[in-house]
């Protein structure tokens, strides 16, 4: 049976990982390749590296980092941040990334999704959506959650699906950084309405939150950053817990042996 995935996300600025709380206040958390390798050894199913550098040199540093990740880490990884045209996608795939995540560029020019799907296949195209809920409903935001758009979450996610996105990475801005759980209602609706996997993002604070995203939210994968970076939740503990809760997760060899002996 296909496993539900646990995905640590590493925000990278000038070659170092950082993590914002509600997209502001950045704190340091180490070398991205080292951290990625540690997560891989602990049983992370995929990794996401987001480039939050604005400068040209920073971009070059990021591309070098992608090559190092590809050379050193043996699980799939996605890269995102600043990808706005086909050429950027090609550069990241050539550097060894398995998938690319596009966000603002897709909202500005949705045809980019069709182009990526056509040239490289849907499986490489992750469409990331930052959305915020108010009385009117869920609205999509541009530029890391700074600029509101006229697009609603559900209609945009559906359009991305139709255009050939391989996965939707949905971040709830209401939940991000506050550690009170994922946006399970919205996740559930996305799962029902889309024909591609949905990755839950924003809000992980406890192991129960992951369980809820998979059971209530019907998410295919859950992404988190600070709970992993600051070792508040360890991936082996989380996998063990989810397995006990009846959720199909990929168990590492040591955990399999443990399960057999019980």
């Amino acid at each position: 049976m296909l496993a539900k995935r646990i995905i640590p996300c590493l925000d990278v600025k000038n070659g170092q990982t950082v993590k914002g709380t509600n997209f502001l206040n950045l704190r340091h958390a180490g070398d991205p390749v080292e951290l990625g390798r540690t997560y891989s050894e602990q049983g992370a199913d995929e990794l996401v590296f987001l480039d939050i550098t604005a400068s040209h040199e920073g971009r070059k540093t990021f591309a070098d980092m992608v090559e190092r990740v590809a050379a050193e880490i043996s699980i799939p990884f996605t890269v995102g941040g600043g990808i706005s045209e086909l050429r950027d996608v090609e550069a990241m795939l050539n550097a060894g990334a398995d998938k690319v995540s596009i966000n603002s560029a897709a909202l500005r020019r949705p045809e980019l999704i069709d182009e990526i799907a056509h040239h490289f296949g849907s499986q490489v195209c992750v469409v990331a959506i930052d959305a915020k809920q108010d009385e009117q409903g869920w609205t999509c935001y541009l530029n890391g959650g700074r600029i509101p758009t006229q697009r609603g979450l559900f209609e945009w996610a559906y359009e991305a699906n139709q255009r050939g996105a391989g996965e939707i990475l949905f971040t709830s801005m209401n939940h991000d950084g506050v550690k009170t759980g994922f946006a399970n209602e919205a996740l559930n609706r996305l799962s029902q309405e889309l024909t591609i996997p949905v990755i839950a993002s924003g809000g992980a604070g406890s192991m129960e939150h992951f369980r809820d995203a998979f059971i209530l939210g019907q998410a295919d994968a859950a992404l988190a950053a600070s709970v992993f970076h600051f070792a508040e939740i360890s991936i082996p503990d989380l996998k063990r817990y989810l397995s006990q809760q009846g959720i199909n997760v990929r168990m590492q060899e040591t955990l399999l042996k443990e399960r057999e002996s019980h």
Partner: protein
């Protein structure tokens, strides 16, 4: 050891090369028939579209070369599919090493998303009570990484199966020809063990 990786118009070949390098092997990436013939082991990886890939192989005479190799060769993902008789993808005749056809997944329920992408568990076949050499040291229930929309049905050469929509061939073996639908090069330590087993054949 002299390891060759078949160079053709498929994507994602570098992840196999990286995986081999992590294991201390320096493979050559080549479409030169002679280099392929004299290698100790050959890998035939990649992601792509079957009819385009077959056209390239035929134009470069690599179809005959691959079929006539005597040393162990491992097809990965599209490599496995190209080693079969025919593929529904582009309705193309393939290499025919495994006498079986490649079919497209037909979703049955809303949850059946295509491509089949992610980590799924393997059921390794154990004829004569032991698994194939490729799966030595493999623990039942271990997961490997898949990305594909077409599959090889269960057939006489199936050495491991996985269930997604239906049970299908996760790995095949006939004589010196080995193939996996999943990506050992992206399957963490489990995948590395499978690659090591192949190199040790």
């Amino acid at each position: 050891m002299n390891v060759a990786v078949v160079k053709y118009n498929a994507g994602n070949i570098y992840s196999v090369i990286h995986a081999l390098q992590r294991m201390g092997v320096k493979p050559v990436l080549t479409d030169d028939p002679e280099d392929l013939q004299k290698a100790d082991k050959v890998l035939f990886p990649g992601q792509g579209e079957a009819s385009h890939a077959m056209r390239y192989l035929r134009e470069h005479r690599l179809d005959e070369v691959i079929c006539n190799l005597k040393q162990p060769i491992l097809g990965i993902c599209i490599g496995q599919q190209l080693m079969c008789r025919h593929s529904e993808e582009g309705d193309v005749d393939c290499l025919g090493i495994f006498e079986t056809d490649v079919l497209r997944f037909q979703p049955q329920r809303h949850e059946d998303k295509v491509p089949h992408m992610g980590w799924n568990d393997l059921k390794v076949h154990t004829p004569k009570s032991s698994p194939d050499e490729l799966f030595q040291g493999f623990h039942n229930g271990e997961f490997v990484y898949f990305v594909h929309s077409f599959y090889v049905p269960l057939c006489p050469w199936t050495i491991a199966e996985t269930e997604y929509i239906l049970p299908f061939s996760a790995a095949l073996h006939r004589d010196n020809f080995y193939a996996t639908q999943f990506h050992p090069e992206k399957s963490g330590s489990v995948g590395e063990r499978i690659l090591k087993n192949f190199l040790a054949l």
